[in-house]
Subunit: 522 residues, 2 copies
Amino acid sequence: MNGADVLIRALADAGVEVCFANPGTSEMQLVAAIDGEPRMRAILGLFEGVVTGAADGYGRMADKPALTLLHLGPGFGNGSANLHNAKRAQSPVLNMIGDHATYHRQYDAPLTSDIEGFAAPVSDWLGTSDSSPQLAEPGIAAWHAETVYPGQIASFIAPADHAWSDTTPSSPQAQPSSAPRASDQAVRDAAAALEQGSNTALFLGGRALRADALWQAGRIAAATGARLISETFCARMQRGIGRVPVERLPYFGEQAAEFLKDIDTLVIVGSKAPVSFFAYPGKPSFLAPEQAQLHTLADVRTDAEDALQRLAAAVNAPEQPAVLQTAAQHDLEPGPMNMFELGKVIANHLPDQAIVSDEGATNGMGAFVLTGYAAPHDWLMLTGGAIGQGLPLAIGAAVACPDRKVIALQADGSAMYTVQALWTMVREQLDITVVLLNNSSYAILNIEMERVGVEQPTEKAKSLLDLGNPTIDWVSIAKGMGMTAARAETVAEYDSLFSAAMAAKGPSLIEVILPGYEGSAP
Amino acid sequence: MNGADVLIRALADAGVEVCFANPGTSEMQLVAAIDGEPRMRAILGLFEGVVTGAADGYGRMADKPALTLLHLGPGFGNGSANLHNAKRAQSPVLNMIGDHATYHRQYDAPLTSDIEGFAAPVSDWLGTSDSSPQLAEPGIAAWHAETVYPGQIASFIAPADHAWSDTTPSSPQAQPSSAPRASDQAVRDAAAALEQGSNTALFLGGRALRADALWQAGRIAAATGARLISETFCARMQRGIGRVPVERLPYFGEQAAEFLKDIDTLVIVGSKAPVSFFAYPGKPSFLAPEQAQLHTLADVRTDAEDALQRLAAAVNAPEQPAVLQTAAQHDLEPGPMNMFELGKVIANHLPDQAIVSDEGATNGMGAFVLTGYAAPHDWLMLTGGAIGQGLPLAIGAAVACPDRKVIALQADGSAMYTVQALWTMVREQLDITVVLLNNSSYAILNIEMERVGVEQPTEKAKSLLDLGNPTIDWVSIAKGMGMTAARAETVAEYDSLFSAAMAAKGPSLIEVILPGYEGSAP
């Protein structure tokens, strides 16, 4: 066996089942080793941003890592933005980065680069193989690193000569790390704070937004009257009928500050204190009101469900939450599409246990609010602000959960970043419905331009924010990638297309024409 | 004036005329400042790899930098692969990276990242604004850095508060650096080596491949009998009828070693000693034969034309090269397309002063060889091996040279990496003909898999190398981006489409179906 074979066998032994890949010449032995490992599925992405975003989506839904296979420094660089998002989501991701043979590096060939430099900014853990040919050692060390609760980005470099050299089979012990628990003092302090405060809230993020953890939060709310508030952008929220609903912190800083202004006690669970996404002249970065006392019950790396369960006991919470989400159906207003009708249609037809990958940007908000009343589902968000996450994330979620319907609620500008994802959805015949929100614009930037104080921009500035001229025809792009696609300009058309997609299996795209759209349908 | 206004004015004063951009919220003041600067053109790319690759193409053709505008660390990360290529090309590129307001960084908002970490691996120079609000200082320092001969990647970070704060107008002095000259000793040594050797060659790269420098090399060849050999992948080669032809070093290491095996004297100009692109088990990394004496007349950062001119004088070269490229027309073989017929058609119709952006990969070689006999033109190559360069590079070349026809000779797998480039070509109505080579495959990897010693890969391994299932329909993708497109399956169809595109102005795409293609045209 060569180093690559031993490595891939050890990772399969540790439970790694999927490799999202875009390999090059220096990774051919790794490809051959995956080829020879029946326990590992190989999925090609036509751009590394697809590969890493898919690994993020897989990690969020499987709570264990997919392997990525990336081609040297620039290949990693192409995947770095979605790894930034994955790192912000605390997803478990295991990156395997090919490199030149160790003796070849000194020649500074065209693809030689500072791979560690590329990898460091978006890796929680970074290792390299320094002793030929025991590639399994850094591989399993990285596997251990990604198990740090709730997940980490662990990257290791696999030089080509370590992959191709013969070696002794070995399978290092793979023992996942356990989640640190909140201290008894932190639980007591949080309980006391909730009992003393008059306007209290739990600020929930990360694993605190899973259904079981939210159930505990709902019990605490029932006992103490605390509001339940979630981070604006969270990795995965379990919600819908029968689950404990939470209020979502608004995106714009001044709205968020207004939203929080009466709170005197904020208990943080699976998150950190709320801050503004961007800075704006004369507006605050830190969003909690001055008078509020902040208590961290559990930071992002502390077991959130355990902490909430113990806090519920400490406040003598009832067995059941007082408030559980009820159902609602929404009557449609016929006519051209807008974000509210979009949301109603999705909420009305959302299948039980659906997964929504939300990169809907300005037009996604209606769907988020209205699906609160829909069947139980998981909602995945853009955690790091680096656009181009949504379509790859949907791939990973669909691979992790082949029996669940995945909906990619996707803004046009962000979709274009990793448009290659459509192809992988078709190749793997994933059960994903892409709802492509076409408003011909980076609409959020038109709002932000005004908000940061830029007055009267001319056509030149606006041209950097709009996606018209030429109008993007998403139906043609999807067809070019082999995907079934159709366009909806009215509520009735959209209702018909979306309900049909929910009833069918397999990949398809619905282009939804929204206000702001410039151009005429072909 | 705010910091952004002063910065952009200073860069315009220094001669920067174009900004390729994909901005976000933290760059809105920079957008407004560009908006207010009539001397600077703003061009939107729908992905940062398009932005940086376009800046590379502009730098190669204009010999001065374009500005890029990138959104924090992940935005830079998306552009890093093409900056790796640009760095390998020694292109002048000026990256302006937006950042959060300085006081906002402490809050670790979702888009906060180690921007310096992202930028360092692909920047020759990296600076940041540390004293509010004199943004013009790091901007002009970066401008200076990119002027280091023949060009450097200079990146600077522009925090949002430094951009929006009022400041005193200033315009730091912008004085480009001058090219270092080869020492007299290096010229004498090279002359002596060429006179003593019996199998001599000049190994030419970088600026030594411009027409004027090649003219001097041709004079030296006439005097000494030296072969003229170019790097395999060079930034820009001026070639065609009436120019001095060079032999191109083969890509595969063993072919390159065979090609060089009789040489006893290698004089390096604008390059470094030849090495293998990748390592392979049991094959050499260093390609010059053991017996060869290597002399560096001018490394990549030494004035190549000056060095060649002085060497020509030192060897008493005649006024004229002995060999200049002659013309040829190529008779077509009717039938299905292949790489040789592809090359003949391009060579037969190539307009005078055309620019070819070559990311044709396995199918580009025929065109390269045959266009040697075509009208004078510039040939731009993939310098750093990070695929996805070709389409963005064509954009930059077309912006730098609006009166010249640009041909993007583009392999399918590489095209998909930065497919968003098609949209910018249409928006800016650039005179680019994309020749999209569709063989449904990363064909080079099928060859490489065998070369690195992997025997009998199964369908799983092959699935990571092929682009069939689903077949990509490039005509539909191009139409989705608003681009005129057509498909050629036969030589006659291709000849007709390509000659029509050469006679017209503006962007278009020709999809060429080549051996290996899987699927049926829709």
